[in-house]
């Protein structure tokens, strides 16, 4: 506090006033501590009992009691369903089930199985859904608890399903929702794509009385799942007292919570102890408090939130914290895809696929697996998928099964002729170079046209296709090689990989960094982590460009320019206005035509030269002009294969970027090559330099020479062909010259 300085006149006046008043006091009473002024009587004062009503208000024992009808006891809240993995099917709290058949598994954290005996599912469907033949089937921990018709079209409405005794367990439960829906007018793949039902996860789960939930780790997880469905994020209190250990504590905590709760990345709020209540009461919170030792306990906050109280000893590192790991076990879905063997037939069941049967008109399925990080095949070597499948007879013409590797179709199988008999070990060979080191995706897509397409699908048809888990995949051997690609470094990123410079904070705030670090804590590779440099837009100069030369302007435009959305109107598109410059160009006559031919020739010649000996910076810049996205990941410097440089759009939500990172690390199809743009659609758009040279990581031996040399040559085949061609030409010329020379006669 500031010192008080009374001006001398004021001080004198105050002292005089004190003295004067004390002299005229009605009475003086001596006490041990000083002189006390005490009035002896209260004459002329009306007694309270005689006071008029308005004065009695002051003494009413209910005067302080404020009756506000808008205030009420805390509501019951929903312990919600929680997705176990990141998916584009989720938008906010809504999870979209698409197509005729869709099945998803959710987590339901329950502190006490006796809290509720009903499961609420809140849903809404498109009006295209034919309710009489569309239903949701719900199972809890493998036990079917009921189904309901999909007849909510106007607003989200809840259905209550009774849960049989003994089905719910304390802790994490698995809730499976299987949607079967049919189009009310059409049939076929197009009709299937027009079908959807959304489940409001925040309103689906079990309804609990918060007062009945005892504090504990299960209660905290239940509250955390509910908190994750709120916009306010998880409040973490008291971190300012952690001092130098703050980052380590926050990192440990957020990573544990993230891997235990699964799904979309959690949002966080760092607050002091004295905070203002949000509109929606908190369901869960973490509070750091200094204590004699590192310790975790759980209790209910005064606002009803389930609170994880972390006591920390001053200066103690968080790894000395007992109790957190066992309470916050990671979900298995947070792991990387299964690593498979090469050069042998591997059953699909070995990497998690189970036999699936389809009765719908359209189905799409992706199966992720992982190849060794030093696997590389650039040659024409074949990988082989041996498919075990069966399909029904009488499928309409055009029924097909399309198989793809990493998004590239490798075979279209007509579902005709050999119906109703299991086709086993059907060989499907494909270019092994479609596969990459690390995560890969094998997918298939089934399309059965409507029969007829302009009527609702027949209800009598049963299963139309079954894909057996005994199908195999045989990936050819590869020598241990590496082709410059950020995929390996992306896989190697971990929560400690973030690298900041002095300007990083301009684009990545603390919460952004935490969100990214948390995302990188899932599906970690388990070996030496790479580095992810967070770069501000105005700091592009710090990105090493190796032998590339990327135009900064183009990079900025990728992140700052958002493609305009096409007009949503359904009318006839407006006719484009005539371009006067083009008309002038067209009218320049013969000379212009010659000029045009020259331009054409020069352009194609340039393309040919690029093909023979690519100048990659041109290609990269050209590619960038067509990109727009939320973030750019770059690895242009071959000499630092474990480093990635990242920039973000100022408008991008880091949580969305983090979700894309989690998804890519869990299911593949992430950033590859030298530059990767995370598009606004959540897809990764990769640019791979065409002149990359494979690097042999093993010793050259007689056994690996052929495949390794094959990779080396295949990396730049045209260069080698042209070089050899010219060598052959020169050799031929020399030989010709030699022949002519030796046959010349001296005159």
């Amino acid at each position: 506090m500031n010192a008080l300085h009374l001006t001398p006149p004021v001080a004198v006046m105050a002292a005089a006033l004190v003295l004067g008043l004390s002299l005229v006091s009605p009475a003086l009473a001596q006490s041990g501590t000083g002189v006390i002024a005490i009035p002896f009587d209260d004459s002329g004062v009306e007694d309270l009992l005689d006071a008029p009503p308005i004065f009695e208000e002051r003494f009413s024992d209910t005067r302080r009691r404020a009756e506000d009808p808008t205030r009420s006891a805390p509501d019951l809240w929903v312990a919600p369903l929680r997705p176990v993995h990141v998916s584009q099917q989720q938008q906010g709290n809504l999870w979209r089930f698409t197509g005729e058949h869709h099945r998803e598994v959710f987590s339901l954290h329950v502190a006490d199985p006796t809290l509720s005996d009903t499961l609420r599912v809140a849903s809404i469907s498109t009006v295209n859904v034919l309710p009489e033949r569309s239903a949701a089937s719900v199972s809890v921990n493998g036990t079917h608890i009921g189904s309901f018709e999909l007849d909510r079209f106007e607003q989200v409405a809840a259905t209550e399903l009774p849960i049989p005794p003994g089905v719910l367990v304390k802790g994490r439960n698995e809730v499976t929702i299987e949607i079967l829906q049919h189009h009310r007018i059409f049939c076929g793949p197009d009709a299937s794509w027009a079908l959807w039902t959304e489940i409001d996860l925040s309103q689906s789960g079990i309804v609990v009385d918060p007062a009945a939930v005892d504090p504990g780790p299960e209660g905290f997880m239940m509250g955390l799942a509910a908190q994750a469905g709120l916009d306010s994020g998880l409040e973490i209190r008291g971190t300012e007292l952690l001092d130098a250990q703050r980052s380590a504590w926050i990192g440990l905590l957020t990573q544990r919570l993230s891997s235990a709760i699964g799904g979309q990345p959690l949002g966080y709020r760092f607050t002091g102890y004295w905070s203002v209540a949000s509109d929606t009461p908190s369901r869960a919170r973490v509070t750091f408090i200094p204590g004699p030792a590192n310790r975790v306990s759980f209790r209910r906050g005064a606002d009803g939130a389930h609170v994880m109280v972390i006591e920390f000893a001053e200066g103690a590192a968080p790894d000395e914290l007992p109790g957190l790991t066992e309470h916050m076990a990671a979900l298995p879905q947070s792991k990387r895809p299964q690593l498979i063997d090469v050069a042998r037939e591997v059953r699909l069941s070995e990497f998690g696929f189970r036999t699936e049967r389809y009765a719908q008109r359209y189905a799409h399925r992706e199966i992720a697996f992982r190849l060794p990080d030093d696997w590389l095949v650039l040659t024409a070597a074949k990988a082989r998928l041996r498919l075990d499948y069966i399909y029904a007879e009488g499928l309409p013409p055009g029924s097909v099964l399309i198989l793809s590797i990493n998004g590239t179709p490798i075979r279209m199988l007509p579902l005709l002729d050999e119906a109703n008999s299991y086709i086993t070990r059907f060989p499907i060979d494909f270019e092994a170079r479609l596969l990459t080191a690390g995560a890969n995706v094998l997918s298939y897509e089934m399309l059965i046209p409507g029969d007829p397409p302009d009527m609702p699908c027949s209800s009598s048809r049963g299963a139309v296709l079954e894909i057996n888990q005994n199908s195999t995949l045989n990936v050819p051997y590869s020598p241990s090689m590496y082709l410059a690609d950020m995929g390996l470094a992306f896989t190697a990123l971990g929560p400690d990989s973030l690298r900041l410079n002095d300007l990083s904070h301009r684009a990545f705030g603390e919460l952004d960094q935490i969100t990214l670090a948390t995302a990188l804590s899932r599906a970690t590779a388990g070996y030496r982590p790479g580095a992810l440099h967070l770069i501000a837009l105005d700091d592009m100069g710090s990105i090493p460009q190796g032998r590339y030369s990327v135009e900064r302007r183009l990079l900025e435009e990728v992140l700052l320019m958002r493609p305009t959305q096409p007009a949503s109107g359904q009318g006839t598109p407006a006719r484009a206005a005539p371009d006067p410059f083009r008309l002038v160009g067209d009218a320049r006559g013969t000379r212009a035509a010659l000029s045009g031919w020259w331009d054409w020739f020069a352009g194609h010649a340039g393309d040919f030269l690029q093909w023979v000996s690519p100048r990659v910076e041109n290609r990269l810049n050209t590619w960038l002009t067509k990109q727009s996205g939320q973030a750019i990941f770059m690895q242009l410097d071959d000499s630092r294969p474990d480093h990635i440089w990242m920039m973000r759009s100022p408008d991008a939500d880091v949580s969305t970027i983090a979700a894309a990172i989690i998804s890519a690390r869990t299911f593949g199809e992430g950033p590859r090559g030298q530059v990767s743009v995370l598009g606004h659609d959540g897809q990764w758009h990769n640019w791979m330099a065409p002149d990359r040279r494979p690097v042999m990581l093993d010793r050259w031996t007689f056994s690996n020479f052929r495949p390794a040399m094959g990779n080396v040559v295949s990396a730049r085949p045209i260069t080698y062909v042209v070089t050899l061609f010219f060598l052959a030409l020169i050799s031929a010329a020399l030989a010709l010259r030699l022949v002519i020379k030796t046959r010349e006669h001296d005159i």
Binding site: N2, L6, V18
Partner: protein
């Protein structure tokens, strides 16, 4: 003015009450003007009118000298000189209508005569004067101190009287008029705010307030020996007894007794321990908090869901148990003026005296 004594009192009082054990050494008081600025802004937005009037919406939009004093004290804690000045000006203009300088206790905006009762409320005067002292100190404003001195003198002359049961002891009258009867004096125990009295005495030289604070603490010990502290008591030559004239349950008035004791560093006071044991038994998360109790039995007669009352309970329990953190909810500005303000007081008391009692 004994400035040196004032400063030393400010420095020592919170420390004297710090009995939080080992944790207290690990947690220090913080500057709430930074750490809880959002809380103050939320309180102001709902309860403070632009002209400086603290509005009690649920009491006919009335303003009280108590509310003005409370608000001004909060402004000093949150280093808000502008808000303080607005409240001060409004109060001087509308409530300072008595010749003795004390404030009329209530202002009714819808009434033809907005101040129908000129009587004062000594707790309002006490907090008003205390806020002025703190403001004078914080912002170096001598006129605040001048006004505080006149108020302290008037309070001492009109509201500090001899205890009829113990001639060497004093009582703090609730107002200048109406509480001294033929055979007894009506006293509101929650009007005792020992810290305020002591700091005001130290700053203004009105030592009677210092004595009155000590006498009040002893009186509260006597009352607490019999159970919970009632809203009103009568003191006669035979001693004290629950008031025969005014409400004598442990209600909305008496809720402040443990708060003010803790704030004054008296967290081991019997009155605090008594109510803490009741709270321990009847306060549960998700359920309304008791606000009116039968003093002898502790039977709950009324409850409220307002977080401010829960904050009081959380503070009291934390003060007694010396546990880790307190069950104090986040501040909710939508609650009525009275619990909202008490919640901010609980925050200040915890921060000053029991910094380990932070909300979990």
């Amino acid at each position: 003015m004994n400035r040196r004594r004032f400063l030393s009192t400010l420095a020592v009082l919170p420390m004297a009450g710090s009995a939080g054990g080992a944790l207290a050494s690990r947690m220090d008081s913080v500057d709430l003007s930074h750490a809880a600025d959002a809380v103050w802004r939320a309180w102001k937005e709902v309860h403070l009118a632009p002209d400086g009037r603290v509005v009690d919406v649920f009491q006919q939009d009335a303003s009280h000298s108590e509310g003005q004093g409370y608000g001004m004290l909060l402004a000093t804690e949150f280093d808000d000189a502008a808000a303080f000045e607005r409240m001060y000006e409004w109060t001087e203009l509308h409530l300072a209508q008595r010749s003795d300088g004390l404030l009329s206790w209530r202002w009714l905006p819808a009434s033809p005569n907005p101040v129908p009762d000129p009587n004062n409320a000594s707790d309002g005067d006490l907090f008003y004067a205390w806020a002025l002292v703190r403001a004078a100190h914080r912002w170096t404003e001598a006129r605040y101190m001048t006004r505080a001195i006149s108020l302290a003198q008037a309070l001492t002359q009109t509201c500090v009287i001899r205890n009829p049961a113990r001639p060497n002891s004093t009582l703090f009258l609730p107002a200048a008029h109406g509480f001294v009867h033929d055979n007894a004096v009506s006293i509101n125990p929650s009007y005792y705010m020992p810290l305020a009295m002591r700091e005001l005495a130290a700053a203004t030289g009105q030592t009677a307030l210092d004595v009155c604070a000590a006498d009040g603490e002893r009186l509260l010990e006597e009352i607490a020996a019999a159970g919970l502290v009632p809203d009103w008591i009568d003191v006669s030559a035979d001693g004290w007894m629950p008031s025969q004239r005014l409400p004598s349950n442990t209600g909305y008035e008496a809720l402040r007794v443990p708060l003010f004791l803790i704030w004054s560093g008296q967290q081991t006071h019997t009155a605090v321990r008594n109510i803490a044991s009741v709270y321990e038994r009847v306060v549960h998360v998700g359920e309304a908090v008791p606000t009116v109790l039968e003093p002898g039995s502790g039977v709950v007669l009324d409850t409220s869901p307002d977080p401010g009352y829960r904050a009081l309970a959380g503070l009291v329990r934390c003060a007694v148990t010396s546990g880790i953190g307190a069950d104090i909810p986040p501040f909710d500005a939508k609650q009525p003026y009275y619990p909202a303000t008490l919640q901010l007081f609980a925050m200040i008391a915890a921060n000053k005296v029991l910094p380990e009692c932070v909300p979990v």
